[in-house]
């Protein structure tokens, strides 16, 4: 090893005096005549040839040796593992794995097997307004606010249901999935009210409708749109601005989500349609055309 390193170092130092043609005159017997003392007379080309060749051979031997050692180590480890496994089986017997007995890390043995969910109650708006009035009059502001939230939720729930009732029951051969109709609201304007409906039932196609209303976020989206954030871009051909029922709208496509149409309307509302597995933009837009933005706007009291 010391010899290889020495040769390498010396070869590097004298590289400028070496010529490639020297390899042609090399003989194997040169290896036998090599001595460390040759390093001191390193200026002639003959010795240089030997040194370089030795360096190469030494490097190859080193690589081969390491690979061999590594392979042997791996084999030994596998043998050791196998012997340990067999020894354990010999002492304790072979464990038979039964289906469904995988350890999931959950130590709880009790699972819920009964229950009919939560009772769906529609807030009584009038009652909650009266409650808010009396709480406020007595100086209990926190309960007053809570009652107002309930009243607000009741009103928004009715608005959402009215919008859902006004939507078509079938679109492009798909019918709406009644159990997936949803109206949600936080009672605050940050998120606002969200109305959702899903259409399915024709092959693997799906159309998801979302109407967002009274949300600060949708207002921000309009500002972004007005500032040209969603303008067409030749570099990104998968989204473009279009006109949809007298509203500026944005359509985009990606291979994972399919088609997505966004139609901001009113002061802070948006209609979003997502079409999954539609063949063409025209097919998707034909389905989208069956929703009346003006009608939704009217139901939400938007301008």
């Amino acid at each position: 090893m010391r010899m290889v390193l020495s040769i390498g170092l010396s070869a590097y130092c004298n590289f400028q005096t070496f010529r490639p043609s020297d390899f042609q005159t090399f003989r194997l017997s040169d290896l036998q005549t090599f001595r460390l003392s040759d390093l001191q007379t390193f200026n002639n080309y003959k010795h240089m040839k030997k040194l370089l060749l030795l360096l190469g051979i030494g490097f190859l031997l080193l690589q081969a040796g390491l690979a061999d050692l590594y392979g042997q180590g791996r084999l030994l480890r596998r043998l050791q593992d196998e012997m340990e496994r067999r020894a354990v089986e010999e002492i304790f017997g072979k464990e038979e794995e039964r289906p469904g007995t995988h350890d999931t890390g959950n130590t709880s043995t009790t699972r819920n097997r009964r229950g009919s969910g939560l009772e769906q109650s529609i807030p009584d708006v009038g009652l909650h307004i009266d409650e808010a009035r009396s709480s406020y009059a007595s100086g209990s502001y926190s309960p007053a606010k809570s009652a107002l939230r309930q009243a607000l939720w009741g009103v928004e729930l009715e608005m959402g249901k009215q919008v859902l009732a006004s939507l078509p029951e079938a679109v492009g051969g798909m019918t709406y999935v009644e159990k997936d109709d949803r109206v949600s609201s936080t009672g605050i304007g940050f998120v606002g009210m969200l109305i959702q409906r899903r259409y399915a039932g024709k092959d693997d196609m799906e159309l998801n409708l979302s109407v967002g209303n009274d949300s600060g976020l949708f207002g921000l989206a309009r500002i972004a749109a007005a500032s040209g954030l969603y303008m067409q871009d030749t570099e990104q051909p998968n989204h473009k601005q279009i006109r949809f029922q007298d509203h500026n709208a944005y359509i985009q496509y990606d291979d994972y989500d399919g088609y997505m149409l966004s139609v901001p309307f009113g002061q802070a509302s948006i209609l979003m349609l997502q079409g999954v597995n539609f063949d063409t933009e025209a097919q998707f837009m034909s389905a989208a055309g069956q929703f009346n933005v003006q009608n939704i706007k009217q139901k939400l009291g938007e301008q």
């Binding site: 009038g126 307004i129 406020y136 009291g301």
Partner: protein
């Protein structure tokens, strides 16, 4: 005598403003009730949101009422009191009070309450954490966990930020011009965080 007259006048103004506010809330609730009965859901919704804002403002005034008039030797600035409510709950209720001394010391107390944005931030602030920042430490203010930060500007003026999260609300006390940490913590402890939390939640 002048002081008594001023106090009486301020009291009358406060009572009047409360009465006006009560009338406003009443009017908004009547409006919401009438709109709802007539099927004008958007009108009812708007009136209810307005009523909620008014209630928020009433809560904010109550909070200001229980805050100390003096922090250390710094009296409050009457004109610095501020209560605001974001119209749709985006930022929630905002309460601010300023304290100023004759010298360089000053303090600003801000409470951002009932904001959904804060729930996530507060969860992080309330968690025990390890920090390598020597200018940051966790303390307790009126039995609430809080985060205290020290900073110093180029003139050598020391300032302190104490953030006290509770529920979806965050109280921030900024004190400038006081070097001693113990004095700052003592000042923070004169704020009735517990009562403020009870009013807001």
């Amino acid at each position: 005598m002048k002081t008594i007259i001023r106090l009486v006048f301020a009291g009358i103004m406060l009572l009047m403003s409360s009465a006006i506010m009560a009338q406003t809330v009443e009017a908004r609730l009547d409006e919401a009730q009438a709109a709802y009965r007539s099927g004008d859901l958007e009108g009812a919704r708007f009136a209810l949101q307005q009523a909620m804002n008014e209630v928020d403002l009433a809560i904010g005034r109550e909070v200001l009422g229980i805050l100390p008039d003096q922090l250390g030797n710094m009296p409050k600035v009457d004109a610095g009191d501020n209560v605001a409510s974001a119209s749709m709950g985006f930022a929630g209720l905002y309460v601010k009070r300023q304290y100023r001394s004759d010298g360089p010391a000053s303090a600003d107390l801000q409470i951002l309450a009932d904001s959904p944005l804060l729930a996530g931030i507060n969860a992080i602030l309330a968690l025990p954490f390890i920090t390598g920042d020597a200018n940051q430490k966790r303390i307790r203010v009126a039995n609430y966990r809080a985060l205290m930060q020290r900073s110093e500007d180029s003139n050598g003026t020391v300032s302190w930020d104490i953030q006290v999260p509770f529920g979806s609300s965050l109280m921030t006390l900024q004190i400038k011009g006081i070097d001693n940490e113990n004095d700052v913590v003592a000042m923070a402890n004169t704020i009735p965080v517990d009562q403020v939390a009870r009013l807001i939640q």
